[in-house]
Amino acid sequence: MNEITIALGKGRLESFTLQAFKKLGIEFPDFTKDSRKLIFNDRENIYQIVLVKASDVPTYVEKGAADIGIVGKDTLLESGADVFEVLDLGFGQCKFAVAGLPDYTYGSASKITVASKYPNVARNFYHKKGMSIETIKLNGSVELAPLIGLSDVIVDIVETGTTLKENGLVVLEDISEISARLIVNKASFKTKTDRIHSLIEEMQSIVEREMV
């Protein structure tokens, strides 16, 4: 087992990841959108892609089931995975923010309730501010929560702000920037050194070229 295994998250970053590897001359001929297969090899059988749910990419890489992966910083932050985060690929830029009703201000007395798909991110943000919160984990339509009194505020990804606006919410505070990251398993980084280091370098030069 000497190949490099890449964890590919389905969805937003799927085609971006495949394109990034294509630019490095690494292609997966069997890979099609409709295929039900979950493992694909490249032409030279040096690389192997495993297709996983995007939010599982950090887990696969942390545990060494995959050597590398491309993942959104949002997913990475929420997972808390212990991996090397070697490159900011600059793709898919957006931000984490606290949003709520326009007239909302943090009260002094009671604990605030935060609804989010990312309870860990929410907790870390408020704990750093020295505030105690209650979190409610939701899996979608998070904007609804403050509208119907389920929570005081939400912590969510904000791209354009359109969804917030249409639901009468505003960004109250920015939390952090988000973009796609190249992550590497710490042991793979140390043991498959040559292959992985050159892959990182090549990918870095692509990122730099495209930024210019």
Binding site: G64, D88, K186, A187, F189, K190, T193
Partner: protein
């Protein structure tokens, strides 16, 4: 019915005879090796006072310790780490000894797994050695050599011992005006080789550019030892930093001369496993296994906290990881 009488809790496991015999044969290989090298076995209690681990700077996180309440209301914890109790034992019981103290242990440690994704056991078997009373380079060499020999004795061929130097970064921080809060942010970015975010953090703090440059280089100080050492030398800001690097160079050279070069790599960005480490630190990886199987290094200030100032270095292997790796091979 949840059948709790039939199930066992998450993170612990039964071993059948075959599995136990395998584990014991591995233990006996290491026992012989450590004994041959003059390390004598010791044992510490399975639970001790919570305060022992709490009072020591940079030990296991509070929430990772498994706690019990004693009759008198004092909090006890199941042994979360092997080294701290041994350091306590040596500092309180061995003071009459004048020469070096070489000890080995085969023991279970207990840790809470706090995240859903932590497959990690809550009961882990560790094997390791501790060498007290020696601060010279040859002690570091002896310990690292024994870690490499352990891997070899167990039949592993494709592995790497990654060397770092905890004091190089500590010195750098001491010289600068970084606050504790900033340090935490910086530390995790270095640890995760996250150069882009490290850059952003440094952009926002008021700090001399020579420091910024040195800190920004930390995550990239890995790879071919000669090259890394040369780069790090140029970034060293005072004699202490140079001195710490020089130690690392000496250890690397000595190990190379003895034929261990192929197993060694260098990473000065390796700064954050257990903060009690003070000098040369290392971790070992086996190819195709996703996490380190051995952690070790120098911890010269640990016994001071128990009232006896004694330089020390050592390592601990995660035996369960070695076992599951042997299954694969």
């Amino acid at each position: 019915m949840l059948h709790e009488s039939k199930r066992i809790p998450e993170g612990v496991t039964d071993l059948d005879s075959a599995a136990l015999e395998k584990k014991e044969s591995l233990i006996s290989t290491l026992k012989q090796l450590y004994q041959k090298n003059g390390y004598r076995r010791v044992q510490t209690p399975i639970f001790e006072y919570y305060d022992l681990f709490l009072d020591i700077k940079g030990t296991i996180a509070k929430e990772k310790m498994i706690k019990l309440i004693d009759r008198d209301g004092k909090i006890l914890v199941l042994r979360p780490d092997a080294t701290i109790p041994i350091a306590r034992m040596v500092a309180t019981n061995y003071q009459s000894k004048s020469s070096d103290i070489r000890l080995s242990y085969f023991t279970n440690v207990f840790r809470m797994n706090d995240r859903e994704q932590d497959l990690q056991n809550r009961e882990l078997t560790q094997a390791g050695i501790e060498l007290f009373g020696r601060s010279d380079v040859s002690a570091d060499v002896e310990v690292i050599k024994l870690a490499i020999n352990s891997m070899q004795e167990l039949g592993f061929k494709d592995f790497k011992i990654d060397l770092g130097q905890a004091n190089y970064f500590k010195e750098l921080v001491n010289l600068s005006t970084i606050t504790e809060e900033q340090l935490q942010e910086i530390r995790t970015r270095i640890e995760n080789k996250n150069v882009s975010e490290l850059q952003k953090i440094l952009d926002e703090i008021d700090l001399d550019t020579t420091f910024k440059e040195a800190i920004l280089s930390m995550p990239l100080l890995y790879g071919t030892p000669e090259v890394v050492l040369e780069k790090a030398e140029k970034l060293a800001l005072n004699d202490e930093m140079k001195h710490e690097l020089d130690r690392l160079r000496k250890v690397y050279k000595k190990l190379s001369v003895e034929g261990y070069q192929q197993f060694l790599s260098l990473d000065l960005g390796l700064i954050n496993h257990l903060n009690y480490y003070t000098g040369i630190i290392f971790q070992g990886f086996i190819k195709n296994y996703g996490k380190p199987v051995v952690l070790g290094g120098r911890y010269d200030q640990l016994t001071r906290q128990f009232g006896w100032d004694l330089p020390a270095t050592g390592f601990g292997f995660y035996l369960d990881d070695l076992l599951s790796m042997m299954k694969v091979n």
